[in-house]
Symmetry: C2
Subunit: 708 residues, 2 copies
């Protein structure tokens, strides 16, 4: 339903312009001028007290316009916006593009004014774009309702395959300008501004459905509907359209800046990053990098496997490119014997592997020889199965014309990603021109090249893998019964270790045998029952770092040890705690642990349950060596994340320890994921710390939960 | 002496050109053409069988040229180079610029050919530049003896303050092109090629002495004389000239590439990075970043303290800039009350802190108002003591002309680093032009902006701090006597723990009381002597990870414990070692250790003793959480490096532990530095692991050394 209306807006046949003027330096005047510039076939209705504006008959109000109006453009003083939207709704307008600002981005009063607009629009059946936005365009309809200086600068409008939905109009213009400078066009572009009504996801959905769009770029300050965003990402990839995202406000000061820009709340960036990784969305830091990666995607072929081939005429340029690529984790392709045999026609025996050095080829013949040698060599290299993508690093060089011809030919024909890294500034301007005319990507730095290559690899990986949404596990009834009942009482409750473990046991998770002892005699009895050796841990309200206060005694091998340990803990409690705060000691089976993991979960109000895991111990807080997996997740997602841990080698038999049974560990993490996810928002925080592992013995030695 | 000759070369009054030709597409012809192009006042002598070349009288050989020749340019086939150099030496030429390639970069035969040239030159008193180089230039003498396509492209030669010495001619041209595109010139540029004779440091020394050079950029593939490099870096900074360095070959494939480019051996990058950090040299990954940082330095003022002020007309651009800066560790300046009061004239109350939003200012008046508002606001912001530097982030925007005027005015007058981040592609071309005409820096990405700002901050810090070279400690005679005598025997010897500790004790370093026991009875006696508790450690040849084989028993509190531990270790030796391999057990005082450090040293053939330290334990190998300090170092260098450790909080009283006495720890690290450094190349490897620390008790519990 929303999609229908957005499609009607994006393919508008008739547009009314509030604030239309003959003065194109004014917002409404400029917008009307730019709308008329590109051959759009629809009807434009300026609303003005004058008879005509810019040669078009004007109307005193929207009601007097004959026939339907698809979109009304609202560039009027802030106090008139509400009235205008009411009139538009009466006319049956599909969407009101509200350019005017001074709404939610301007504080509480503005937020109230904005809500008023939304109330009117929703009650009376029209939709809002903005407020505080710059407009939208659909190049394939030659429809430009966007007053960006970028659309003012260019008097042509390249049609292309890149769809953009952006909260920022200026950054949409910036992406457009960058794409046009490379001779590549957009399909549609929408600046969504404050997202009061129609939001990024509405336009994202439109771009997925749009037949001209092949890749989608999103600039987001605050996500309004994270679940819908997730679903749309899956749908977009299923439709073969990769998704790139820049999310502003990842730092404290950036978050502050987005709030005063579009009134958006930034949300937690680490969790968004984990969600993007899970979905195969390319999260970028910068809009230029994003549009570059999108252009690389549409101008070059797909990338299944293989490393990056470097060609250049500069030995120094080659060395720096190899350094940058290897540091970014790209494989250095080893050319096969067939390829080397062909290269041997043109290069000396010392140069039959990558990088391809045009300078070396040029040393052995004329410019014509070089052209043929380069062409044949590049063709052979790019056909080599070890090679998945390529870049030509252009420094200031001889025979730049020849090399550029080969680069264009290669990028066009090799069927693998190929682009130019042009570091030669104005000296490389002829090469830039050639690339632009061929609609091929050119970047100017190795840093950009690496960023684009990473995104290309990510897009290819996202499209080549299956993306089945995981079904959340059902909460066992036994677990539900153990939770404190919702209702009156404190908003959040921290469960004791014993209570948390009871929950885990009910959910079928591995916990050690244990029981609570209220005195040393009981401790000894329980220890005999469980079997020695045991661990004693203080049970006391409000104590989280038990070992720091002397509340933990491990490896107790005799009943005497148990008795003395209980007494020491009681004495420590006497020194550190209030009387009565210690309720006893948990006597616990001593489970073997060559390695300790921490597996936790956090409830994120935007993205739901986020499972966090890392190698445990007291160092975990300092090292931040943890990975985040949004739940529910698939079993096959776990191991790659474990492998990303810096301390991962500890799991694989480091320095003579027994290797961890990784299959069982993955099972346990999946089970914890299902357990925490099934509790949903009721489980605010959960930590299994440590999860003790020895070979295939895995046991949650300690755990805590905060429920609401 | 070398400097005199280099100065004569760089200020040549007469140049002979072997391989001169009327065909400017040939190396010699092109070089001559470019030499004549820029108004150089010297004499050019083509060497040719023809009567004249390019209108200049030609000579059949160098001997027949009347008067002295300062530089001979050698672009002849490889087999004629040696003969030509001999002739040049006979003529008394100061330097032979050898363009020809196919020397050390082409393998062993080439290396032999290259050595032959050097032998001739050195024996007969001329110097070589190259071979395999592209030439040199001194813009202030209008002297261009460089056949780079960059000097071909530009028919003018901006004089400027940036000196470049580069092993790669193409990358020198690339930097030149980038600087010219910003309207900024070089002072001198030298491509040093294979550095067969004159090397980077010879030209570095020249640039330090050159009165036109204010900042120095070095592109290096292999350093020939690391000690000289260090001394020159100190001298350059003392002369107020910051040094920037790009070192290619930091990855395996990059190292391979530099070898086949200029025949250079890359050397260890981590150690070079530590040396650069110690000296205040800005180590960059890319030549464009390097020249950008150099341009920022010469086009803007010095940066003493304060954060980075962001201005823009795009709320989204502002948010992304804040994100990038905060992530890179820049302070976000808080404007003072005075500044805010002034901003209040132009901006609403919600916008009296950074970033400055030109869009918000523009919303409240005309373009003329905007100009005045922007000018006053920027002046106030840049005068605020909290602000140390600034950038204007240009997206596609309205009033770009007004904002550009303010940016140029601000950058010129504020006395702090200020530059433009122009993301607007062709839409920002007018802004680019204005910056260029003002000789100001413009970069096109936030990534570049952050890189340049980091380098600027580093350059300022390097110039503002004292740089006294530390004097190495004298080796105590007692230590020398304990070393195995040099002479016949194996090239390297691994000292046992006991021998290593004897060395440490002789050097006055803190080691625990200990003695070697050959059986359990002896162990008990020694333990009683030292005082319980003790530690037992196997002493066995060739065992380095003692605890992995069961060779370590700690916290032995009774004589019975000691006896049983000895027997267990002997049993473990029986299982794991050859008969007789175990010589006994070291009985050692149990020293308290809340924290364990590893402090080691490695001999680097290029840079000498490198002291390495990090938080110890078995995790150190996985975490790579170590810092490198080249020895000798100053006491004040240690604490900042300790603070860089991720695990540094463990030293400051993490979770209730006793804070480490940092002064004593620094003393110990300094003492280990002095000890290892004074042994020089005799000490190949040294590890004090662990150094056990509890409060102010610091003791080297275990150590090993490899000497040669």
């Amino acid at each position: 339903m929303s999609l229908d209306q957005v499609q009607r807006i994006m393919n508008a046949q008739s547009v009314a312009i509030y604030g239309a003027s003959d003065d194109v330096s004014k917002w409404g005047g400029g917008l009307m001028h730019l709308l008329l510039r590109h051959g759009w076939q629809g009807k434009v209705f300026p609303i003005s007290r004058k008879d005509s504006v810019q040669g078009h008959a004007a109307y005193p109000d929207i009601g007097s316009i004959p026939g339907p109006v698809d979109v009304a453009c609202v560039a009027v003083p802030v106090d008139q916006v509400a009235r205008v939207i009411g009139e538009c709704a009466d006319k049956g307008v599909a969407g009101c593009l509200v350019i005017s600002s001074n709404f939610a981005e301007a504080g509480e009063d503005g937020a109230r004014r904005q809500q008023q607009l939304v109330d009117i629009a929703r009650a009376r059946g029209t939709r809002l774009i903005g407020p505080n936005c710059m407009g939208l365009m659909n190049t394939h309809a030659r429809f430009n309702l966007c007053n960006s200086s970028a659309t003012e600068f260019y008097d042509y409008m390249p049609q292309g395959p890149i769809g953009i939905a952006s909260q920022s109009g200026a950054l949409m213009g910036t992406m457009l300008a960058r794409a046009y400078a490379c001779g590549i066009g957009l399909s549609s572009g929408i600046s969504a501004g404050n997202q009061a009504d129609l939001e990024i996801c509405d336009f994202f959905e439109y771009l997925i459905a749009d037949k001209h769009t092949r890749v989608i770029c999103l600039y987001v300050e605050g996500l309004q509907s994270p679940e819908r965003f997730r679903a749309l990402c899956r749908r977009s990839l299923a439709a073969g359209k990769p998704v790139l995202l820049v999310k502003a406000g990842r730092s404290e000061s950036g978050a502050h800046a987005v709030q005063s820009h579009t009134g958006s709340l930034a949300g937690g960036y680490d969790n968004l990053a984990a969600v993007c990784r899970q979905l195969g969305v390319q999260l970028m830091d910068d809009v230029i990098d994003m549009i570059d990666a999108a252009m690389a995607w549409v101008s070059v072929g797909d990338w299944s496997t293989g490393g990056v081939a470097v060609a250049t005429a500069s030995g120094g340029g080659a060395a720096l490119a190899m350094d940058a690529l290897e540091q970014a984790g790209f494989d250095m392709p080893q050319l096969g014997a067939d390829t080397q045999e062909l290269l041997a026609k043109w290069a000396p025996a010392t140069h039959l592997q990558l990088p391809l050095d045009a300078g070396v080829l040029a040393a052995h013949g004329s410019a014509r020889d070089l052209l043929q040698g380069m062409s044949e060599s590049m063709r052979a290299i790019m056909a080599d199965p070890a090679v998945g993508a390529g870049i030509y690093v252009m420094t200031t060089q001889k025979y730049a014309d020849v090399c550029t011809r080969v680069v264009v030919e290669t990028a066009r024909s090799c069927g693998k990603p190929y682009f130019l890294v042009n570091q030669a500034s104005e000296v490389g301007s002829a090469a830039s021109r050639s690339m632009r005319e061929a609609g091929l990507l050119e970047v100017t730095s190795l840093t950009s090249a690496v960023t684009v290559l990473k995104a290309l690899r990510g897009m290819a990986a996202a499209l080549h893998r299956p993306l089945e949404p995981a079904a959340p596990m059902q909460l066992p009834a036994a677990v539900a019964q153990l939770l404190p009942p919702p209702g009156p009482g404190p908003a959040t409750v921290t469960l004791s270790e014993a209570d948390t473990k009871a929950l885990l046991a009910a959910a079928g998770l591995p916990v050690p045998r244990q029981a609570l002892a209220r005195n040393a005699d009981e401790a000894v009895r329980i220890a005999q029952d469980i079997g020695l050796p045991v661990v004693l841990k203080i049970e006391a309200i409000g104590v989280s770092h038990k070992s720091d206060m002397g509340g933990v005694e491990v490896n107790l091998t005799t009943t005497g040890d148990v008795r003395r340990a209980y007494d020491r803990i009681a004495a420590a409690a006497g020194r550190h705690l209030k009387p009565g705060q210690m309720t006893g000691c948990l006597v616990q089976q001593m489970v073997p642990g060559d390695v300790e993991l921490i597996v936790g979960a956090r409830w994120d109000p935007q993205f739901g349950t986020m499972v966090v895991f890392g190698i445990g111990g007291t160092l975990v807080e300092l090292l931040h060596d943890v990975r985040i997996l949004p739940a529910p997740f698939m079993r096959h997602e776990v191991l790659p994340q474990l492998r990303q841990l810096k301390l991962y080698p500890l799991l694989t038999g480091y320095r003579g320890t027994t290797p961890v049974d990784l299959e069982r560990l993955v099972d346990t993490i999946c089970a914890i994921g299902a357990f925490t996810c099934s509790l949903g928002p009721r489980l605010l925080e959960f930590d299994a710390n440590p999860v003790r592992i020895s070979g295939s013995s895995i046991c949650i030695a300690d755990a805590r939960a905060v429920v609401q």
